[in-house]
Structure formats: C-alpha cells, structure tokens
Amino acid sequence: MTFTLRRRELLKSVLAGAAFSAVGPLRPAQAAEAVSWLTWENLAKDDYLAALIEKGGISIEKSFIGTDDEQFAKLRAGGASSVDLITPGLDKVEYYVASNLLQPIDLAKVPNAAKLYDTFKATTLGKKDGKTYGIPFYWGINPVVYRADLMDAEPDWSVFFEGEKYKGKLAMRDYALEGIMIAALYLGIPKDKMFDLDDKQLAEVKKALIAQKKLLRTYWSSIGDLTNLFATGEVVCAFSWVPPYFDLTARGLKMGMAKPKAGVIGWCDTLAIPAGVSGAKLDATLKLVDYLLGPDYGKKLAYGGPYAQSTSSTRDALPAEQQEKIFIKDLSVMDSFVWKANPPRYTEWVALWNEVKAS
C-alpha cells in the first residue's frame, strides 16, 4: 500500500489535530489514566485485570520485580517517580516509610479495605502514626512440604533439628530471617519475643542451626529449584513455599504439606503508593487498589494463584474446597501464624546465618 500526503492535506491534518487537542481537556473522562504498577508477574495477568479495564477510564502499565529487595533498591535509586503503585512485603513497608518513599493511603477512597480480615486490620505492620502506608493485599503461609511417599509421618519443625532418619535429605530456604524464626519456633521462644532475641537466645539459635546444617542436603534459593530437588528425590522434606506441593501433586507425586503446631510463618504483600503520585493519577491508582481488594480480582487469584486476598470480598463465593486450599476455610488458623517482621538486630541475624552456613 502506498501512502502519499500532499502539503494541503498535511496542513489540514495538523489543524484538525490542534483543534482536537484544544477540546481534549474538556473530555477527560474519555481518556484512560495510565497507572504504572510494579509487582510480581503472577499477580498482574491480563485476565485478572480484565474486569477493571473493561469498565474504561484506566489502563495499567506493568513492570515486574524479582525480589522485594530489588523493588526497594529500585525505589531508593529514584525509581519512585516512574511508578504509581508498588507491592512490598508487609514487613518491608517500614523500610520504605523510613526512607520517605510512600504516602499514607486514604482508606475512605478504598471501600473494599473495610473487608480486611481482622488480623490485617489489627496489625501494626504497614502503618505509622495511625496512618496506613501499605494495605495488606494477598497472603499465604510458608509450610513444610514433603514427599509423603518417602516419609513415614507428617513432620514438624523438629525434623530439621534432631534425629538421623532424614539426614542429608532435607532442605532449608537460604534466608536468614525465616531460618532464625524457625529455630526460634523449634526452641519454644514465644512468638511475641521472636524478633527481639537477646544474646543468650541468639547463641541457642546458632547452636540449633549448626546442628540443622549437618542434616541438610542444601539451602534452596529459588522455588523452581526446590521443586526440581523434590521431583528428583534429592530432597524429601523442606521448609518451603506452597507451589511445589501443588505442582508436584498435579504431576502425580504423593506430596504432603505440614503446618507445625508450634507456629507457621505467614507472609503478606501489600499495596503501597509512592509519595509523588497525586491528582487524577492518584484517583486512578486508588481505583486499582480497590479493585485488587475486590471480588472480581479475588476470585481470579483464588483459583489462579492459588492465593488468598487479605479481604473477605470473595470468600463466601468460593466453594469449601477452594477455601481450604488457600487457608481461609477456618480463619482461626491465622492465630497460629507468625507474621514476618524486621528484627531490630537484623544485621546480626544475617551475620549469624552466614556464620552457621560457613561453619
């Protein structure tokens, strides 16, 4: 196809364009406000967001993160001006607030926030001086996953610290915070004291972790890798995330998922708005936040993730089996969760973790 443009036609087009842009500001409702969302890839699938986009008025530009630390580093390095919504961990919001990177969220403009589960309403994480900077978005637990065909009984935390039966067939995540939390749970340190361990407690934790290291096959750092280790039988039991359980069960392996009575580590990611977002952009961002806490998105996430939203928006619409799958059938289970928080002596925790691994 050939396309020619004469001078007169060009002039006409330019004039028409100028006229259009002159009336443009009179019709803002017609233009979709673009909201830039920095998040995990699995949370921003097109079909999850379709119900909002179809209504019009908003378009979403997605960019993805690989780790929470990467997200923080990006914002610290001046990336806050290019994003309108971020997805930090509930325990990490404190970092962003201390760095003046976030703005408080006006909950009156997020009606679905009223449906937050009590645990999330009550938590002090994600808040400062009574204002919410990170609204709990979705959550889950990091359980013990095991090969039910290769283990006699459902394990608890002690399997990682004592006995020789599964020596060399266990794996632990290479992450100081959770590694030390698990040792503290095993040692019976109360949940409310867990993040303020004193020197004596840290010494006990270190001793337990050194004993643990002798039982481990490896420390895992990517969930895909751990899934692989389960599949090849290198590892029969690990402190894990839930995906290997679902993935390998779907592939026909007999997997088990244990939630030790001493306590289970719960995680939650939040929605947070960088400090510079304002005006129509802020309104559109809040609209997206409300959608992400609402029933349409919640249902997609419950089946697609499968993960639970932090609100009850979609809970009653899910069959019991699906509720069970994402841990919202019996909500009292949340009482046994330990939500990750930042220990004041975190550098020492990381040093201890490295000492254990280098021992």
């Binding site: 201390a98 060399g168 481990l216 096959r217 420390y219 890798d225 692989n228 290198e234 490295n354």
Partner: protein
C-alpha cells in the same frame, strides 16, 4: 614524534575515560561506602573504620575470603594440569580443523551458567548418570550422595566451567613455541621432564599465567555454582556480600568485605608477579632473553 605521541594520547583518551567511568568510579564508590555506617535504612556519612575491624575480627568473613582464594588456586592448578596436554595437542598435533576443535572447546561457554549447572546435576545426582551406572554394575548398592552437593562437586563443575580459559591461554603459548628447540634439547640428551621444566614451562609461562589469572579470578567471583552444586556448604564470600547488600541493607559492611577481598586479590597478584619477575624464567619471559 611529539605530534604522534600527542595524537596517541588523544586517541587513548576515550578508552581511558570508559575505564575510569565503568571500572574505577564504581569501585571508588564502593570503597568510600565501606567507611560509612548504617542506621536502619539510612547510610550515615560519618567516616569510620569499624567495618574493617568487623571484617578482621570475624572468623567467618576471614574464613570465607580464605576459602575463596583457596578454591581459586585449587581450580587454577587442576585446570592447568588438564589444559597442558589439551592445548599441546590442539597446537601441535591437530593440523586440520583446528578452529573446529577450539570452537568445540568453547561450546559449554555458550550455554550459560544455569544450563551447565543443571546438566552436572543430571550427571552427579543420586538418580544421576554416574550413580545409576555404579548401581547397575553392582559396584555400589546405595547411590553415593556426596557426588552432588559437596565441595567435591563444586570444584568439579568450576574446573569444567573455566577450563577453556586455561586451554586458550596455553594454546596461544604453544602455537608460538618453536619445535626446533625441543629437538635440539633432545639431541643434546635432555630427558622429557627436563625439557618440560627448562623449555616448555618457561616458554608457555605467559599463557599459563594469563590462564591461571583468568580462572582464579572467575572462581573467586562465582557464587552460583557453589550455591546450586555445593549443598549446605555452598556459601561463598560473594553470597555473604550479596546478603549484606540485599536482605540486611548493610551496604557499608558489604562494601568493606568486597574491598578487603579486592585488596587481598590485588596483593596476591602483585606478589605473584614479583615472584615471577624475580625468577630466571620469569626474567626471560618479561625481557625476551
């Protein structure tokens, strides 16, 4: 002449600029950070040597730096032993398709770290090629689990990964080695060991040194292989630095460890260069005597 020299300086300026901007400045920033301290998420620009004291006082960080250097040296030596005959064969015994052999040698490098690591897992794993074969022959009845996720496995894979760098260095040296020197030595009654020690080794030394440096530095900086192959003992000084920069947000301490490692490596390389320069064959290499 003055004009030519001046032009040389001007032509070299962009290269120097790139080197300064891409290499010296980031390292200088890292070095400066190592004298700061951290208060939660704020870097406090208050000069202190505390971080270096912490590195020196910590058996863990000292041990990790020492372990990295030892691993680098072990892998450099093993790859030199393997690479000598390979490089010699390619340089002196292959006449046709020489470049095909060299390409073949480099193929593993095209595949990327992770592919090589997972390929080795298939070879060394409990249900892997070696264990399956040993069980099939009846030599063992239980898989040898130490084949994978052990320091042994890490060093095998590191040697495999970086061997081509050593072979390339030595191959170039062998290509310029005059065979008539070896013939003359033989005619004068020298044994094979003497020929290697007094002729081959000194004349291929530049390749050996270049290859060894490459392998050494690459091994010291590799943390993915130890992490994914080394099992519970797979910690490296690099992964410890990564932890400090990432999860702990202690950039100053991370910078201090990184700077310490860099300084120690610099000293070792200088020391090695001095030792080589003072030896007879080192002098002959440097001055071409």
């Amino acid at each position: 002449m003055a004009f030519a020299a001046d032009r040389g300086v001007r032509l070299a300026a962009p290269v120097a600029l790139v080197l300064v901007a891409g290499c010296v400045v980031p390292l200088a920033v890292l070095f400066v950070y190592s004298f700061f301290k951290v208060d939660f998420v704020a870097i406090v620009h208050d000069p202190t040597v505390k971080n270096y004291v912490r590195v020196a006082a910590s058996a863990t960080y000292r041990g990790l730096i020492g372990r990295a250097i030892l691993s680098g040296a072990i892998v450099a030596v093993i790859s030199a032993v393997i690479a000598y005959p390979v490089a010699w064969a390619i340089a002196k015994r292959v006449y046709l398709l020489k470049s095909a052999y060299l390409t073949l040698l480099l193929i593993p490098l095209y595949t990327g770290d992770l592919v090589r690591i997972f390929a080795w897992r298939v070879v060394l794993g409990s249900e892997g090629v070696i264990n399956s074969f040993l069980m099939w022959t009846g030599i063992v009845h239980e898989p040898i689990r130490a084949l994978l996720f052990s320091p042994f496995a890490t060093h095998v894979v590191l040697t495999y990964d970086y061997l081509p760098f050593m072979v390339m260095g030595l191959w170039l040296a062998f290509e310029s080695l005059d065979d008539r020197l070896l013939e003359a030595a033989r005619d004068l009654g020298a044994g094979e060991v003497t020929i290697f020690r007094r002729i081959v080794l000194p004349l291929t030394a530049p390749g050996l040194i270049a290859g060894a440096m490459m392998v050494f530095v690459l091994v010291v900086g590799d943390y993915l292989t130890p992490q994914l192959i080394g099992g519970s003992s797979g910690i490296t000084v690099i992964s410890a630095i990564n932890d400090l920069f990432g999860t702990a947000f202690d950039w100053p301490l991370g910078s201090a460890i990184a700077s310490s490692l860099l300084i120690i490596l610099g000293l070792l390389v200088t020391l090695a260069a001095l030792v080589v320069a003072r030896s007879t064959w080192g002098r002959s290499v440097v001055s071409g005597e």
